[in-house]
Assembly symmetry: C2
Homo-oligomer: 203 residues x 2
């Protein structure tokens, strides 16, 4: 965990402010089995957390400035409704984005983690988007764009996993574990969207 | 396209039996942009189709017999409700699974492709599962298990992409293009689930 996590605006992991997820630990075990997520993957993710922890600001900047900023239908979700920049909103959500990388790698996937997965998803749906930062922006991020963009996260994270001189085999194991976690997370987020969206509106 | 595609029971790609998808070509373009899917990826997928076409039976057998069969909550969707095997159902759906690999690589991603994406998704939801083969099996496949298992498809397809002696760079390009297509497809399927599921029941 980032030593400054407590200073991140709106980062409420493990606090009483977070509701209990509708996904259970049994659901999580089912997803782990489906993706083939093992204790080796947990160890590889911990190593990835060690490798990535000093780079998260650079990684999120890469995603935001080099990629998302060039795709209007993605960029607008961190902007004002008229398309003008919302720098404070962007900065706050970037800090949480950075912490999410760390959490993905270093948190125990337990009930608190499930609860925060649901919270993350809710903050992308019309139920809670914009509330955390008290901004006026797009009402929700379509689930389809999240699933699509995870392909980019998965591809672009790899060089950062290789940046501290680990062997090709270690980097590959870290990358595979990261990808498995992404599929578990996409599956969990889909539950929140299906429960929150009114008949697919938030696709 | 597989030369025997017309012989595949229930394979109705491009026929009048298939409804027009609720996802539009504009939606598809948005998803392509989000994943970074380019003409290079189209070319790489065509090459992948050439590489994989004679191996699809072996690949689907690998997925079904070596992996899914060992995971009861996945295996049950191709079985009778009491858990006993349903060999004809399995065989028919395997033929379509094989053709889906070919289609993913070689079809033009146009309106017909979008329509069949919706049909594929519907056949996994309670709207249409079991109808094509007139069987009594589980009422639907949870979307979450599909998203989770795509991680396995993506990982296990790679050796088959490398099996015809292409360079590491070519194999990597084919693999990246395949993965991008999978994210586009997961996003499209999620639309059908969100529209079909009764408030998240089919998660």
């Amino acid at each position: 965990m980032n030593s400054n996590a407590n200073d991140i605006s709106g980062y409420t992991y493990g606090t009483p402010a977070i509701a209990v997820s509708s996904a259970t630990l049994n659901d999580l075990q089912r997803l782990k089995t489906s993706v083939g997520f093992t204790e080796d993957d947990e160890r590889s993710l911990l190593l990835a957390g060690f490798v990535l922890k000093d780079d998260v600001e650079r990684i999120v900047k890469h995603w935001r400035a080099n990629i998302i900023a060039g795709i209007p239908h993605l960029a607008k979700h961190s902007r004002n409704l008229d398309g003008s920049p919302s720098p404070d909103y962007l900065a706050r959500s970037n800090r949480r984005f950075e912490q999410w990388i760390i959490d993905t790698c270093t948190r125990t996937y337990d009930q608190d983690w499930l609860n925060y997965q649901q919270e993350i998803a809710l903050r992308h749906t019309s139920v809670k988007k914009n509330q955390t930062d008290n901004v006026v922006s797009t009402p929700y991020v379509p689930y389809s764009d999240i699933v699509a963009f995870v392909a980019v996260l998965n591809e672009t994270i790899k060089p950062y996993l290789a940046a501290k001189g680990h062997t090709e085999s270690e980097v590959s194991s870290m990358h595979k574990a990261w990808i498995k976690s992404m599929h578990i997370q996409m599956a969990l987020w889909s539950k929140t969207y299906m429960e929150s969206g009114e008949h697919g509106k938030e696709w």
